[in-house]
């Protein structure tokens, strides 16, 4: 039976990751200051303990199970919430092991619909989501991107990708999808699928690093792809795709062994979602220079930076600390200069991986 335990463990491991940014369109509306922060704690594999918490800035208080509080009688969100996207007044929560996308009213937290992600009885295992043009795009490990219509809240189309797609970003006329191939390890994938949003078909595959994971787009339209490597001989790496002609522009090289990235305007925050390698490296994508090798400047200690999100309005950086993966996590809010502003525990939520802002 050990092998199942192992598989479970690997699944957890494979699921570990933080997530995708909401809408990378360069000319968004002027942002209002946030009123509160939604925190997604992914939970433990088989634990049915994904938690959506809500932190109100007016009261500085945290409701650790906002979903159940707003939906009394519901069974909870389910197992392993990998990602969360706020779009058009709705929260889309990607429930990996439960194999659903759960849609909530973003203002009230009221449950609107649970969208099954299944092929017959087989799980699609949805992973990450992004939104654009009135649709939410969700990668699933059955080698597809599902197109969820935001009014009918149903999967209206399925786009074929490479193996086990993970990170996803929309920019201009294109969707960029990281084909990880994780379940074929060690024969992992190393490509990014480029999908034309007008035709909803894959138009190109671009080779990047081994086992690509996250994709974010900088203010000037460069697509940053972080890859895991093979965990032994090939280190993690960062590739840059030019979105104007969809060609590989650069590989950042040895100083950038990072499997995760989060973008805010011109600034890329590269990080690894495990302990011991610092919190994040800050990189200016316009000048191509490192701003700070270590984002945190006041010595605040983070065990496991499991997810990083940035408030585009204030520039505050939210670091989700998953600690030892079994005990309650903590969310740290840093000022843009890397000094701690405040923090709160996600208890009983474990493995927090994403925050989004309620404005």
């Amino acid at each position: 039976m050990k092998q199942f335990a192992f598989l479970l463990m690997m699944s957890i491991v494979i699921l570990f990751s933080s997530c995708k940014k909401d809408d990378p369109s360069p000319a968004g509306p002027v942002l209002q200051p946030k009123k509160g922060i939604y925190v997604l704690s992914e939970g433990s594999f088989g634990g049915n303990n994904t938690r959506l918490g809500y932190y109100t800035l007016s009261g500085n208080s945290f409701s650790p199970d906002f979903f159940l509080q707003q939906n009394p009688g519901a069974a909870g969100l389910g197992d392993i919430g990998n990602d969360m996207v706020l779009y058009g007044g709705k929260l889309y929560i990607v429930m990996n092991v439960t194999s659903q996308v759960t849609v909530l009213n973003a203002a009230t937290g009221a449950l609107i619909r649970r969208i099954d992600f299944r092929n017959g009885t087989a799980d699609k295992l949805p992973r990450y989501a992004t939104a654009a043009r009135g649709k939410v795009f969700v990668t699933s490990y059955d080698n597809t991107v599902s197109v969820v219509d935001t009014s009918s809240l149903a999967i209206v189309q399925s786009i074929a990708t490479g193996a086990n797609p993970d990170g996803i970003a929309a920019y201009g006329d294109y969707l960029y999808v990281a084909n990880s191939g994780s379940f074929n390890f060690p024969d992992v994938d190393s490509t990014v699928s480029v999908i034309n949003l007008n035709t909803m078909t894959e138009v190109k595959k671009i080779t990047v690093g081994l086992n690509p994971n996250k994709i974010e787009v900088s203010a000037n339209g460069d697509v940053y792809v972080t890859s895991y490597g093979n965990f032994s001989s090939v280190p993690a790496s960062v590739a840059v795709i030019n979105s104007s002609d969809n060609t590989l522009k650069a590989q950042l090289g040895a100083g950038f062994a990072y499997s995760h990235v989060r973008m805010n305007g011109d600034l890329a925050y590269f990080y690894n979602n495990y302990g011991g390698s610092g919190v994040a490296k800050v990189y200016n994508t316009r000048t191509g220079t490192v701003v700070r090798n270590e984002f945190v400047t006041d010595g605040t200690s983070i065990d496991t930076p499991y997810g990083i999100n940035i408030d585009e309005e204030s520039g505050e950086v939210f670091v989700c600390d998953a600690k030892d993966f079994v005990t309650a996590g903590t969310v740290y809010c840093f000022n843009a200069d890397g000094t701690l502003k405040y923090s709160f525990s996600t208890a009983p939520g474990i493995n927090p991986n994403k925050v989004v802002f309620n404005r």
Partner: protein, 664 residues
Amino acid sequence: MGMGELYAQTPNDTACTLPAIRLTGKKNTWIMPQAFPAQKLGREDIRESAALTVADPARLFPGTMVKDYGGMGGLKTISVRSLGAHHSAVMYDGLMVSDMQGGQVDLGKLSVTNVESIGLYQAQPPDLLLPARAFASASVLSIQTMGTDHANMPGTRIQTGFRAGSWGFVNPMFAISGKPGKKYVHALQAEYARADGAYPFTAYDQTADKLKRQNSDIQNHRIEYDASVQTGDSGRLRVKLYHYYSNRGLPGSVIFFNPFSRQRLTDNDQFIQSSWRKQIRKTALLVSAKYSQTYKKYIDPDFLNAQGKLENRFREREFYVSGALRKEAAQNLRLSLSSDFFHTRLTRSGAFLGDTANPIRNSSMTHLGLQWLPGRLQVQGGLLGTYISDKIGRGRAAKDIFRVTPTVGLMYRHTDTSAWTFRLFYKTVFRAPTFNDLYYTFVGNASLRPETVQQINAGLAWQGRQNGIWSDLVFSVDIYGNRVTDKIMAVPRQNLFQWSMMNVGRVQVLGIDFAADVRWKPLGSWAVRQRLAYGYQRATDMTQPGSASYKNQLPYTPEHSGSISTSIRHRWLTVSHQALFSSLRYRPGDQVAENRLEGWLIQDVRISMQKVVAKSLHEVFVECSNAFDTEYEIIRFYPMPGRQVRFGYTFTLDTKQSTTNHKP
């Protein structure tokens, strides 16, 4: 009969390692007063407990926890005194059941249909004439099958029966034994079982809908053949062949909104074992050999890889030889020497996560034992030397292990007739890292050291007989302390994909075991017997000061657990009842309400009637496990089965004599 009697120490003892001698009508002994605490369940006890597999009666011993993933086919392993399944050896008819890959034996695979007794021995069994491997664990669960027990009678014995019950459970069995030659007896036993296992459980949401467990079916069959040949005046050679096959669904944990699972596991296990026992004046000799092979096939037909399925096949084979000598060196002094060698290899096929090490392990163990019995004091001790060496197909093999570990036990009785017995033991022992610990792709860590356990135990036992309200009473109380160091645990390292097994854990256990066995004074022809077991355990995580779990009770470990078994007999009628309970536990993580599993109390009931007609014995029975349909979990989100009603019939025929004196 368990090993206490089995390895009886009378010089002319010809009892053998394999099946037990059966003295029909002799009272079962639940508690054995000796230096190393032990309890034993006899055939009647096991039957009365309405057990299906060894995992069921294993719950009745004090201080044990059976980790049970629920269902008919779920994994069930035993942890004794919070040391974990790796530290409990399982002996089947005198030789170890080996699992070098995972290091824990699934008790759910071992049927009780053919079982004569199950004994739990802390530290080690009391006798010295044993394979060295019997001394190499913190505790030994010893299973004795009926083997050729009935074969010594004249004529042929045929036994057939079936059981059937809820959730599509059907379990027919057949046995035949006889004595074809003057010095040759043999027995064949076979059974088949199936169940769809779709038992109801209540949904975890507030709808409280009744759902059915999915993919929880099992189908298995087992065939055992035993033969026994007398050699010379005092020698006996025994041979056993064993075959087991099972195919079961793996339901997994209940995942909200996603009841679907199609993962399956197939087991196909065989072994042949033989032992020869001989007494030459003051020396007893025991030579054993065993070849075993286990095959496991795991399949997930929905796995999202390039093949569109995940299939893993593991084959473990082991060649095992053992020799043991026990000598009456002087009056009151016995010395023993046991030496074992075993060669184990694991091969894996099917593709997932790269290539595999296909490890080979050579192990040798030598045990020097001593028993000194000056009057009312008994001293028993031993030194165990273990040498383990691995070779692997690719990559780096683990370093060789060489260790010598001691055991010492004392038993004292104030006067020869004293009802009180005092005991004390100390043992250091370790478990070697398993093949999975060392070599599993990514997770494995070839630098692991053995996981070490120190045990100390002090206890007393009392036994008495009288003509008052009770007629026989035995009880024992033991206080123990265990320390586990270099505990092997999975920890995330460097990269989240590289979880790795590390020697990081430290555990301290402080516990009390209480066991009692009372026969109430018969009321007319009514006989009432009760067995009690209670365990208190404070099992503390001492791994990392400052961590959230530091000094917390270990996950899934109740502070209080126990059982009360009652049987009432009246002529042809036996009514039995047992209650099992556990206090609350926590799953891993913070010990908060969200991670709490409530305590539970479940009750089983059985009614059986026996009737002798000419040379045959008929038994009909109804049994009901979890009679009050209590909903409980041992592992979070693995709901345990509710009430299962089963009925059955057994027919036993002795061709040459009446079966009156022999229970089926």
